[in-house]
């Protein structure tokens, strides 16, 4: 273990990110409602963002790209949520529910 004042190796953050990512994945698989799945996606995006920021901070070379990337990710997450929720609302209007596992009209 590092004996510096800070004392947090990057692996801690990365592991946290990985946990968050896997929780998001788990949510994608278990959530029945479309909105629940959307929430899980946000968790995964956050995991990526944690990585970006962690790397951006820990890298020896000064770089701003990590934070920039994270900003764009946040922006696009908003856009994604907008589109997703719009579709969900439309579906709700048509089906009166948003349970994705019940939507199996098409298969073969």
């Amino acid at each position: 273990m590092s004996h510096s004042a800070y004392g947090i190796p990057i692996t801690w953050f990365l592991t946290l990110g990985a946990m968050l990512f896997c929780i998001g994945l788990f949510g994608m698989m278990v959530r029945r409602s479309a909105i629940g799945m959307l929430l899980s996606v946000e968790l995964m995006l956050n995991a990526a963002n944690i990585n970006f920021i962690a790397f951006g901070s820990y890298l020896k070379l000064p770089t701003i790209a990590g934070q920039i990337f994270a900003i764009f990710v946040i922006t696009l997450a908003a856009a994604e949520a907008a589109v997703g929720l719009a579709i969900v609302i439309n579906i709700y209007r048509l089906e009166q529910h948003v349970d994705v596992d019940k939507m199996t009209a098409m298969k073969l």
Partner: protein, 683 residues
């Protein structure tokens, strides 16, 4: 004339085309066209013969006149093809054209009113053309081609009344059985071509010049010449109806009788003999002598075997058919014992008297409407012309010396056999006896006695049928004088055909043979024939011997005797009972073992095999393909269940796949890097 000899076969071909296309509109429904063509061929053949033998053309061309054209290129080589004239082919030309023209004339009367009358003459012309091509071909392949064409036309003619199932079966049988032999012939040709490098028989680069290249030891320690000879002989066995392949000929009697006269007496069946004679240098070049021995024994066996069968036959044409087989055996046997000239001579004479016999039987059939001799009898008075010509030819066949053609030729055969192979000689004598025996049985039953069936209103045939009979009867007497022991024109002309080298070989083989009249042989030959006639006479004409005498010693035969059927047929004669038993046995063997068991059995097995193969094809070859298709389809159907329609499942599958992929990546990574677990965590 010789240089235009190619016209001889061509004219009938043209007639064939004309008659086939315009038969009904042509004069005489096409018959006259065909007859005109064959008569023209006859005239030309006669002219060629005259020029060759008497006009000195033979000498002018050193015994061979040959014309070739380019036929087939093989690489830088060129295979030629053409015709050649020598004594052998001239003799054959004469035989074929004479018999063919007479038979065609005869057919005008016999086939009168047949619905397919023009087609009959068309086929006849084609047959003649094929046969004529065969005899003047100078190239083995051309020989084979015409050989097969002969087979084809005989198929057409035998099956001419194809509405009759028996006729159609007989035609097919004839074609197939001969084709079995032809395969051997073909193999022989291939062997000869590959070893001698030529398909042409004559000339500097021809087969006969290069036969020494064949004289090497091949499989089973036999020289290739022997093998080639035997393979060629296979063809002859088929066409000339020799022992194992003779079964087609009696059945072929289903064809119109003139056809039998032409094909099964004079021409097609003689082709096998001609083939062996034509290829005689191959046999002579065989240093082991194996090939000719086989030829001799096959011929001898056939001669006797068929003759014994002839005794038991009641169908007039079948008797003649077995007789033909027997006589062909004679010729083959003769060739096998170096009786090159004798065999050809017998072919020559036999053509006329056997054609006459067939035509005569045709006349009988025409007059009585039946072929069963048990229903005939006493025709002598009603059909005198037929009777006398028939009798002359019968005598000729029996080999009555001095006055008949057959006498000269048979005696010559026996003379050669006496010199070279006594076993064969004995068989020949027995055959002569049997021949005389069954032929006179035939004559007696047909023409003598009282008519056994009274509703037959026999009448003499029209003149157009009688004229050929008379001409042939004339030839049956006088054709033999070209080959008397004292002045053997035949031998003088035929032996040089072999070429100097093989002429010498043949002479060496026959060295010490008494040329000229051989009294011993004469006595044997004449004696056996007369004995045969005598036996026939005491059994059937003046029934001295009676079948009842068999009873005490042979109970099983007694049962036959009790049966009315046999009592009428078999006259009492203890002397013939052995012969009868042998005949029945032979017939049974022929019918049940050879014909039924072998031919039908092979046919059955073939069908079975082909059915099995068809099943195999459907089940396995095709099935394999279908199985692949099935697997493909099933896999597709099974895989589609991955697509459940549930998005969560999709994500699950995605994650699972990603896990697998990632693990694979790491697995690959571990392999190449030293992997220390959790190494970096505390770093």
């Amino acid at each position: 004339m010789i240089e235009h000899a190619w016209l001889i076969p061509l004219l009938p071909v043209i007639a064939f085309g004309l008659v086939l296309l315009f038969g009904r509109k042509a004069p005489g429904n096409g018959a006259y066209v065909a007859i005109a063509a064959i008569c023209a061929s006859l005239a030309m053949s006669l002219a060629v013969a005259f020029q060759w033998f008497l006009g000195g053309a033979s000498a002018a061309h050193n015994g061979l006149y040959s014309v070739t054209i380019q036929w087939m290129p093989v690489g830088s080589q060129m295979i030629d093809m053409g015709f050649s004239i020598d004594a052998l082919s001239v003799v054959m030309l004469l035989v074929v054209t004479i018999v063919a023209s007479l038979v065609q004339i005869y057919s005008i009367g016999y086939m009168h009113g047949d619905p397919r009358y023009p087609r009959y003459f068309a086929y006849h012309s084609l047959f003649a053309a094929a046969m004529l091509t065969l005899v003047i071909a100078n190239n083995v392949v051309l020989m084979f081609m015409s050989w097969e064409l002969v087979g084809l036309t005989s198929y057409l003619l035998i099956g001419f009344w194809f509405e009759r199932p028996s006729a159609m079966r007989a035609a097919k049988k004839a074609f197939l059985v001969t084709r079995v032999g032809d395969v051997g012939f073909l193999a022989g040709i291939i062997l000869i071509y590959l070893k001698t490098g030529s398909l042409n028989l004559f000339g500097d680069a021809g087969v006969f010049e290069n036969l020494t290249r064949l004289d090497v030891i091949g499989p089973w320690g036999l020289p290739l010449t022997a093998i080639a000879g035997l393979l060629l002989f296979c063809g002859a066995v088929g066409k000339s109806a020799q022992f194992p392949l003779h079964v087609w000929l009696p059945d072929a009697m289903e064809g119109p009788t003139p056809v039998s006269a032409l094909i099964h007496a004079a021409t097609m069946v003689a082709a096998g003999v001609y083939l062996v004679a034509r290829m005689y240098p191959v046999y002579l070049a065989d240093s082991s002598g194996m090939a000719l021995q086989v030829v001799a024994y096959v011929g001898a066996f056939t001669a006797l075997f068929a003759a014994t069968i002839g005794i038991a036959q009641n169908d007039i044409k079948r008797v003649l058919a077995y007789s033909t087989v027997s006589q062909l055996g004679y010729m083959i046997m003769s060739l096998g014992v170096f009786g090159y000239v004798a065999g050809m001579f017998h072919l020559f004479t036999h053509a006329f008297f056997k054609a006459n016999l067939f035509l005569g039987s045709g006349s009988v059939i025409h007059g009585t409407g039946t072929q069963d001799i048990r229903e005939m009898g006493g025709l002598k008075k009603k059909m005198p012309w037929t009777y006398w010509t028939f009798l002359i030819s019968t005598l000729s066949l029996c080999g009555i010396p001095f006055v008949t053609a057959g006498g000269w030729s048979k005696e010559e055969i026996l003379a050669v056999a006496w010199h070279t192979n006594r076993v064969v000689f004995v068989v020949g004598v027995l055959g002569a006896f049997t021949t005389a025996f069954y032929m006179f049985r035939l004559v007696y039953k047909t023409f003598y006695g009282e008519p056994r069936k009274h509703d037959i209103h026999a009448h003499e045939s029209p003149r157009v049928m009688l004229v050929p009979l008379v001409i042939l009867a004339f030839l049956a007497i006088f054709a033999g004088y070209v080959g008397t022991p004292w002045a053997n024109v035949f031998e003088r002309n035929l032996v040089p055909v072999l070429g100097h080298h093989y002429e010498q070989v043949l002479e060496n083989k026959l060295a010490g043979m008494h040329h000229g009249f051989n009294l011993t042989v004469f006595l044997f030959a004449t004696g056996s024939a007369l004995l045969g006639i005598f036996m026939a006479t005491i059994i059937w004409l003046k029934p001295v011997l009676r079948i009842e005498k068999l009873e005490p010693s042979f109970g099983w035969l007694a049962k036959l005797v009790e049966n009315k059927y046999y009592i009428d047929e078999i006259y009492q004669a203890t002397i013939i009972r052995g012969l009868m038993a042998a005949a029945w046995l032979a017939f049974a063997f022929d019918k049940w073992v050879i014909d039924y068991a072998i031919v039908n059995g092979v046919g059955y097995l073939t069908r079975l095999a082909s059915d099995l193969w068809g099943w195999f094809d459907r089940t396995f070859v095709d099935g394999l393909v279908n199985i692949i298709g099935w697997i493909t389809k099933t896999t597709g159907s099974a895989l589609r269940y991955l697509q459940t329609g549930v998005a969560q499942h999709y994500i699950f599958l995605l994650v699972s796949a990603l896990v697998v992929i990632s693990l694979a990546v790491i697995a690959g990574h571990i392999r190449e890097e030293a992997w220390i677990p959790i190494a970096g965590f505390y770093r």
